[in-house]
Structures are given as structure tokens and as C-alpha cells.
Symmetry: C2
DNA sequence: GTCTATATTGCGATAGAC
DNA sequence: GTCTATCGCAATATAGAC
């Protein structure tokens, strides 16, 4: 976007790129600006110079990561031609891809749920309720089409879907260890989880 | 356990009781010993005196909370007389009850997943793999009885179950707001989630 | 067992030289 | 735009009085 040529990264970008994994893995409070500067390979004073302090840097980091989420939502919105079940399968694939492409995004968001900062209300809530709205819309549509069970509450069911899909990544520290090895563990998990969910919401006879 | 009479709480207990919500809601790094001492209503020096520092206090807090988890696992283990689907329904009920009774336990564990401390390997992993083993055991049993679909991997399916059940609590900051109000929201969520899951894993014709 | 006072370290931010 | 040096402050931990 902002790059003018490809030869060198700007100082701002160096700081942002170094800050993403640090904030994601250790949490806002446990990361020092010294640490951030060293990881970025820049002088410690430049963090205040460019971002106006650690707190603003963190907010900037969250914004870059929510740009990723917003893009993901855009992609799954463009699925009007698919039927609801296929939309949900597609959602699972996109989530799996996002975790490969942006491995720190989810960690940062999860961190906001557990230890919210000022950014939780301003950034996190807005984007994620949009996502839940999209999913509950799919489910409502499917119920009206007679495909999903009519005793479902679509909003609650949308949250369940996010839960079953994301939990593997949330518990990655443990799940990668205790689950039996598979060639592509994450993809296998998501596939089984999405199919389980779909069997769970589809009306019995449609199968 | 250790209480000799009911009249007064010991200083250790005052500190522990105050530390649980603070560590749970703000995370280890964001809580100061000054804050802990004030919340407990004790002198700041007593935290080092009784626990040997903030880090050891945190470990002690985690241990008290995992005693809660261990007790929960004990309760759901005593369900040999139930069939697998009933065991899973019972698991959902126990999880819901635990969140009411010990509202900070899950938060502390979630925090360990996102920003692990030294206690993650020593405490968290051990207890939670036990829980997943119990659940995957139920599922394996159900597959052998011909009740659950035989294409399921029980370990992966157990993780899905934990995910669909726990996600509401994990995202409580958001879910309580965006979900349509219900008289007992958490219980409603868990019921729908567990039934969805069970419909998802049961072989189609049994219904 | 509890307190005050203090030692020591590391933090985030900035002034000012280059 | 980048650096060094430093300020002011809050952190954890402890020594020693009571």
C-alpha cells in the first residue's frame, strides 16, 4: 500500500513487524519498549517518535491485524451463489487459511478477550460482531429454506460455529501436542469440526 | 480444609482470594504486588513473606484453581452408569455450573493459553489432557457401540466438544452483548451447543 | 506476624546533539 | 530521522523495628 519501492522497509514497518509477534505471544503488559526496539533493530527512542508510545503502538498493531479480519470478512461475504452449508464450509477453509497466513492475528484477538485493553471496545467488538452477523445470517437463511433445524437460535448457533472452528487454534499450545499426529492437523481438525457442526444443524432427513 | 474456625480468614487466604480475580482479569504481568496487597487489605511486604514473591503467588493461585478443575473431572468420571450421549450432556451441565461457582477459573486457564507462564507446562497441560482423555474415551466408547459416526477421530472430536461448550465463556465480553437476551443465557447456549454437537456426532438413523 | 523504610532495578518517555 | 543520556517514576523485594 504505502511502499514506494521494494528495496527497504521503513522504520515504522520494522517496528510494526517486530511488535506483532511480541505483543501476540507475551501480551501487552509483558512486553517492554526496549524489547520492541531491539527486535525491530531500531533505536529505542524511535517508538515514541513514530507511534507516540507503547500504548499507541499496540493500538496500531491491532489495527493492522483487524485489517486482515476485515479482508477475510469481505472474502466470505462474496458467497451469495453458495447455499448456506457451502458458505459455512467455505468459512472454515478461510479461517484455516488465515491462521497459516497471519499466525498472530488470532492470538492478538484472543488476548483482547482475556485481558481487554482500551482497543477492545473500539476495534475488536465492532469487527467481530459483524462476523457473527454474517454467520447468523447464513444460518437464518438455511432455517428459512428448511435446511437447518428450526429450533436453532441463529445468533447462538453462529457463536457455536466460531467456537468449534477456532478452539483448536486457541488451544494450539496443548492441542498440537495431545492430538494424534496427522499430515495436516489443522485442516483435518477444521474439516471434522465443520462436518460435525453441519450434521448437527441440518434437519435429519436431508442427509 | 485448613480453616480452624470460621470467624476470621488467614492472611494467606486473604491474599489468595484477592489475587484470583486480579490475575484472572488483568493477566499476570499487568498486576502489581502493591495492587494485590491493597485488594487483600494486607501490608505489601506480606506477599513476599507468605508466598516468596509475585511469581510464586501466581503459581499458588493457579494451583487453587486447578484443584477446582480436578474436582470437576472427578465428578464427571463418576458417570459409568450413563450412556455416552448422557455423559456428554452431563459434561455440559458441569461446565456451566463451574462457571457460575468459580467464575475466574476459566479466565486464568485461558490466560495461560494465550500468554503462558512457567505454570503452563507444569500444571495446565497435565490437567487438561486428562480432561480431553476422558471425553475422547466417551466418544470412542460411543463409536464402538455404534452410536456415534465411525469416521470420527475421538481425540479431535473431544477437542471440538470442549470448543463448542467453552467458547461462549471465552468470548463472554462480546457474547453477552451481541446475543439476544434469554432468561438464562449461558445455560441456553450450552444446551443448544451440546445438542447440536450430539446431533452432529450421532449416526443419522438413531434419531 | 506485621509494619516502615529503603535498596535496587527496570520501566516509558523525552531533551537535545548530530 | 536517528542517536545518547537522562529524568522521573513505579516496580519487586528485603532488612530490621516492633
Amino acid at each position: 500500500m504505502k511502499k514506494e519501492n521494494v528495496t527497504e522497509k521503513s522504520t515504522m514497518d520494522k517496528i510494526l513487524d517486530a511488535a506483532i509477534p511480541l505483543f501476540a505471544m507475551k501480551g501487552y503488559a509483558a512486553v517492554s519498549v526496549k524489547e520492541l526496539a531491539e527486535a525491530a533493530g531500531v533505536n529505542i527512542a524511535l517508538i515514541s517518535y513514530y507511534f507516540g508510545g507503547k500504548e499507541n503502538l499496540y493500538a496500531a498493531v491491532l489495527k493492522t491485524q483487524f485489517a486482515v479480519i476485515a479482508e477475510m470478512i469481505d472474502v466470505i461475504r462474496k458467497t451469495d451463489h453458495l447455499n448456506p452449508a457451502e458458505k459455512i464450509r467455505f468459512f472454515g477453509q478461510i479461517v484455516a487459511q488465515s491462521h497459516v497466513k497471519c499466525p498472530y492475528t488470532s492470538h492478538l484477538i484472543y488476548g483482547e478477550f482475556i485481558n481487554p485493553t482500551a482497543s477492545f471496545d473500539t476495534i475488536v467488538k465492532k469487527e467481530l460482531s459483524q462476523l457473527n452477523n454474517f454467520l447468523s445470517g447464513c444460518i437464518r437463511e438455511a432455517i428459512e429454506l428448511g435446511q437447518f433445524r428450526e429450533d436453532l437460535d441463529p445468533e447462538y448457533a453462529a457463536l457455536s460455529l466460531s467456537g468449534i472452528v477456532n478452539f483448536y487454534f486457541f488451544t494450539q499450545n496443548l492441542s498440537k501436542e495431545i492430538l494424534p499426529p496427522r499430515e495436516n492437523q489443522a485442516e483435518y481438525y477444521i474439516n471434522q469440526a465443520v462436518e460435525t457442526y453441519l450434521h448437527g444443524v441440518l434437519v435429519p432427513n436431508i442427509l
